[in-house]
Symmetry: C2
Subunit: 280 residues, 2 copies
């Protein structure tokens, strides 16, 4: 199976590593408008060859779109225009409604599989690609009834080869869930980093005093704006709703601190502890 | 050296493991008002013997207070009343001003060393104790000029045996810095867990969709209220200040989303990314 990966960063690159290692791919074709990244991907053997998008579409069996989501909405209709026969296009974007909308009535809509592998790290670019990133994680298949059964089956095979579980959601539900379970964590982490950086002018002190707890809270604050701004743009309404609720929860804590109501504060922490049971 | 550990949980227990392993302690005496925890600590060989507080004060060279901070302010004056000669008392509390105040004018103040090892996990109790928890981390020595030089030297030896670096701060600065670099991370994580738990009634979905990013953001939300409520009580004013700033930062993000000002949002993420350079 020849697989073209359009956008060879953390996700695309990690897929390339695993799909080559497990034999699912016989050839990995890299496509990246950033020439430096493309060369790097070739140098570190993430991809077997670098091609232009058109060349890649000519010869790939499966085309995986792993660019920032803004580029996806632009590229996806163009790619669907050009594919022929059984060629399949997958996206791995963190938002879905706008991407789905961009090809809603496209003749080749059935060859497109909208997916979102729930895996990642705070790093980006081809050097960030790692083996086994997806092992044991979950992929969301979105609005799968609009995909042709054969394309669907092939996409399942691909994700099973990555050792991932599969969950089915519609586009609206996907974007709401990810606002809660992924996007707000990033906003919270960016805000936490900024709050500390603005106040703690003494960088040496931050480094010295930062324990594991602080480090894990601000880990996501290292994430790339090139990746995240398009997500916040495309999922703005849901992210705003969740952000409002998060600010309200923090305001509740604030009010309890002001009133010194530590009994209720204790109860809320116990409630929050429940996340342990769910996440194990 | 006989070391008594009052409160054998994550921190006290982990100190017990390391101080025994590196030969600093010849005997570890456990003291815990919770009989189940005391027995557990004995069963898993965290401590060599369990004693009452009075018995432990009779025979220990160093007494380490590792209870929740509320118990520290209550116990510390009582312990200082009873020590004799060169006996040393250390606390490992996450707040300092109230603990220092509780023994401000005590005759034996010079034998007390106020310390805060910046290490931990989200777990608690004797089973949470682990080897090497402190390796390469930092301990804060607080208001050290009020401690007798010999007691200070001995405490330095102890923390160096735990492979920790040492930083010196006064009580006020300590409590402000930790509000920024530790306490707010916990409040943020508790709030994030609550926000998601309140909205995502479908627990299976949370589990399925939770990626590494979400897991690390809510890791601290597993922390015990018995440990954290006393910290928030004692450091309330500083925590309130930082929480206000954090809410303001989130409100800034909110306003940028409302106005669709993604250029400024991008700039703020780049600013937050700077945490990567500082924490490495």
């Amino acid at each position: 199976m020849k697989i073209a990966i359009v956008g060879i960063g953390l996700i695309g690159g990690s897929m390339a590593i695993s799909l080559k290692a497990n034999g699912f791919a016989t050839q990995i074709i890299g496509v990246d408008k950033n020439k430096t990244n493309a060369q790097k991907a070739l140098d570190i053997h993430l991809v077997d060859v670098i091609m232009s998008l058109d060349e890649a579409i000519e010869c790939a069996d499966i085309i995986i779109l792993s660019t920032p989501v803004s580029a996806m909405t632009a590229l996806l209709p163009v790619i669907l225009n050009k594919i022929k026969g059984n060629q399949i296009v997958l996206d791995v974007g963190s938002t879905k409604e706008m991407i789905l909308k961009s090809v809603e009535n496209h003749t080749n809509r059935g060859q497109f599989v909208a997916t979102h592998p729930m895996a990642g790290t705070e790093f980006s670019g081809p050097e960030a690609a790692i083996p086994n990133l997806f092992d044991g994680k979950c992929t969301v298949f979105v609005d799968i009834e609009k995909t042709n059964p054969k394309a669907h089956q092939m996409a399942e095979k691909l994700y099973k080869a990555l050792k991932m579980g599969i969950v089915y959601l519609d586009g609206k539900a996907h974007d709401i869930h990810t606002a809660y379970i992924s996007h707000i964590s990033h906003i919270s982490s960016f805000a936490l980093a900024l709050t500390v950086l603005e106040k703690e002018q003494d960088e040496k002190r931050i480094f010295e005093l930062a324990s594991g707890g602080f480090r894990s809270s601000v880990r996501l604050a290292k994430s790339s704006p090139d990746m995240w701004i398009p997500i916040f743009e495309q999922n703005r309404d849901n992210v705003l709703d969740v952000l409002d609720e998060h600010i309200n929860t923090l305001a509740k804590f604030r009010s309890l601190l002001i009133k010194k109501n530590f009994t209720e504060f204790y109860r809320l922490i116990e409630e929050a502890n429940d996340i342990q049971r769910i996440l194990k």
